[in-house]
Point group: C2
Chain length 452, copies 2
């Protein structure tokens, strides 16, 4: 293997100049978001009070396949992109599989995950429109860290509401955001009406993403020149993440192979869409036979066991109604360590694609995900984020099938981030303190009927 | 700046095939290590019980300028090398300096620092010589993490003695080592005579690098097929680290510039030697005028305020006597957060070069180092290791001088590692809880006279 290339890079000129907007090429477009009061479809203008105008337009753009990446954003991409496409020889050896395994290594971003790809874009558009302050929520803090740095790059002030239990239990990511100059507030807080309403009733409430979203939106709406930003679920976030798959497509060409299966972990869909959509356009337009597999946690199985329906994007019900695979907006996922995958719904694009049979989903138990992560760490030297461990587990399952059948399938997965800030989770896994979570059909059905 | 290249990479073929052994080109060679009992110079054979034979020979090799990198090691380098050479446009802008600042980004290694460059080499040679187990000590854990992964790569068992206070206070790095499959023991421990001797007298002793070294060496000597490994100070470690400077030399050529000043932080000298020695050969052989600046912590100033003399490499006095700049092997450095720089002495090559005026040293206070680190993080998006912050602070000082004089100097520094595992240190800095340490001339003199 000495003379074989392990990592494939693009030159700065080869970094894509356009993001790919898969909505334009879908036969069945995602259905529109609805105003929950009037049940009328929303226009971009309806979103302007919350999001930057250009992001609102991108969110609902179903006609342009290619959106130009602004020079200022592409210029910042050059600091860490192209990210390497890596042939996982070590993992192949460890598994004894005939499969050829590749991964796109988004963990090399300075903040350690793919989240920066969209954070830079969102901060840039806000800046261009004269916005001075941006807000967001974060759980474990991957997205918050990316947004904090992106805000600094474009000279914006960032206010991040971090779920209180993470704020206290994961001080590392809070410190990262603060080192980048962001204002970080534990949510619920006394700085918003939404926060006060909760704290006056439950003074010791540990917070949730839903509450943090409400606080961030409220601050954005009530502050001049301030807008809200989000790190996943939305279509414009997946759009920005297609830089991953567009690079991977060129890099796979350098290997002389083409993926039979493309795998990514799944929370709201941004890293999955990011790597899958550019390849999927060949399936949509030319009938190319490729499998696209979303790996979700068994404790939060909206794709494998949820229902396709209009539902709210947040727990409190402040967002528009979105057509999505969901477990119900009131679904309270178990406290698994892959915090980035603990979300009740799927983005509208992925939901439509799954409904139409263009992709598939698989669920992974927590223990299986960490076993896969440890195997990968020892084989490839990179400790993966707990979220990414789900993609690795699904990859291992595919590779083991190849071992049985003897097929030399080409598998590509997205390593969305590293786990160096998540070592307490590995610690607990190694100590035998983690468990799997079983979710009964009754629980799912009950929750969905409450949400409807 | 849109059309300017920010990061420079080498192809896999361009990754160097040889390490550079500066000892061969030095007019005044380092004086030999001495047996402390007989005061006789040591031969490689004297080191065989402790180190792999090839490493023992490399340690004392003063004749061969180039040592071939084994295919198996170079093959593993390809997984993360070449590391990028980055033009720090963001930092230049933040400082308003006319200087051109470049940094070699060793933080992209899977374990987050340059340490892996030597860990892979040491593990490989041990494997080749039939050794099955390797031991080492680690403080904060950068070296231990690198060695744990390298051992796994080459199928060796690794036993790491981690200073007890770090083992308890920095569980993240312990978990990283364990995830890579290493056996990690808090030192002092009951597993060695050295540990037992201390614990029976001081049951609550928090440990020191010196004690951990003693335990690791004792285990190596008393275990069949087991050898000891070290992450800095020694000449063969600096040899392996020259891969950094050899790559940087090729990458600087791609920029069309040549460094006027080369800067690295300084603990035992491995990352400094790694980036500086390949450039310094042009100074030694062709009289090229380049400044080489070692940035050490003001609380552990062996280069700026220590004495050149024969001294022990460890606190307990078990190692050979080494000709080094030292503060005395019994020197107890203040508990600064740049744990990797808390060492009383300098490697023998750097010591001789400093004595002969080929390089210079500067000392940096703790607060200045973290201020520099935060500025760099906000300007370049990478949170640097507390150790690397010293190199950044020295770089900023040089760049600010250029601002005064208007000189367009080219400055190259080594970013030895990222700080994502060190966020508690940043946390304390941001909270105003860190202090500077003043060291009086009397203290230094007293300590040196005790050591002599």
């Amino acid at each position: 293997m000495s003379n074989q290339t392990k990592r494939f890079f693009l030159s700065e000129e080869e970094i894509p100049h356009y993001w790919y907007n898969i909505q334009a090429d879908m036969k069945n477009k995602p259905m529109p978001p609805l105003n929950p009061a009037t049940k009328q479809p929303l226009s971009p203008e309806d979103l302007f009070p919350i999001f930057a105008q250009e992001l609102s337009r991108q969110e609902l753009n179903q006609t342009d396949s290619w959106i130009e990446i602004p020079d200022e954003v592409r210029d910042m991409y050059k600091y860490y992109r192209s990210t390497p496409l890596v042939r996982a020889y070590g993992l192949e050896r460890a598994l004894g599989t005939p499969a050829h395994i590749y991964f796109k290594n988004e963990s090399v971003s300075p903040v350690g995950s793919h989240k920066l790809n969209s954070a830079l874009a969102q901060a840039y558009y806000c800046k261009r429109e004269g916005i001075t302050n941006i807000t967001t929520e974060t759980g474990a803090g991957q997205w918050g860290a990316a947004l904090a740095y992106a805000a600094k790059v474009f000279g914006l002030e960032a206010a991040v509401y971090q779920v209180k239990i993470s704020y206290e239990q994961k001080p590392y990511r809070r410190s990262i955001m603060q080192t980048f100059g962001a204002q970080v507030t534990a949510s619920p807080s006394m700085s918003t009406r939404a926060g006060k309403d909760i704290l006056t009733v439950h003074p010791n409430y540990q917070g949730s993403l839903g509450t943090a979203i409400s606080e961030a939106i409220e601050l954005a709406i009530n502050t001049p020149n301030c807008r809200y930003t989000l790190g996943s679920v939305l279509s414009h976030v997946a759009l920005h993440q297609t830089i991953i798959g567009l690079e991977a497509e060129k890099q796979m060409a350098m290997t002389g192979e083409y993926p039979d299966v493309i795998i990514a972990c799944f929370g709201g869909g941004s890293n999955f869409g990011g790597i899958a959509f550019p390849f999927m356009r060949h399936t949509l337009l030319d009938g190319k036979k490729t499998r696209y597999v979303a790996a979700e946690p068994a404790s939060c199985p909206k794709l494998t066991r949820g229902k396709f329906m209009y539902d709210f994007g947040d727990e409190a019900g402040y967002t528009p109604l979105l057509p999505m695979f969901t477990l119900g907006h009131n679904f309270a996922p178990a406290n698994i360590h892959a915090g980035g995958l603990r979300y009740h719904g799927a983005g509208v694009i992925v939901s439509q694609l799954l409904k139409d049979g263009y992709m598939e989903a698989t669920d992974i138990q927590q223990l299986e995900s960490f076993e896969a992560g440890c195997l990968f760490a020892q084989a490839e030297g990179i400790i993966p984020a707990p979220e990414s461990c789900h993609a690795i587990a699904a990859t291992i399952n595919e590779a083991n099938k190849c071992k049985e059948t003897g097929e030399e399938k080409v598998i590509l997965f997205n390593l969305s981030g590293h786990g160096l800030i998540d070592m307490t989770s590995y610690d607990k896994f190694l100590a035998g303190d983690l468990v799997n979570y079983q979710l009964s059909d009754e629980e799912i059905a009950r929750n969905l009927s409450e949400a409807e």
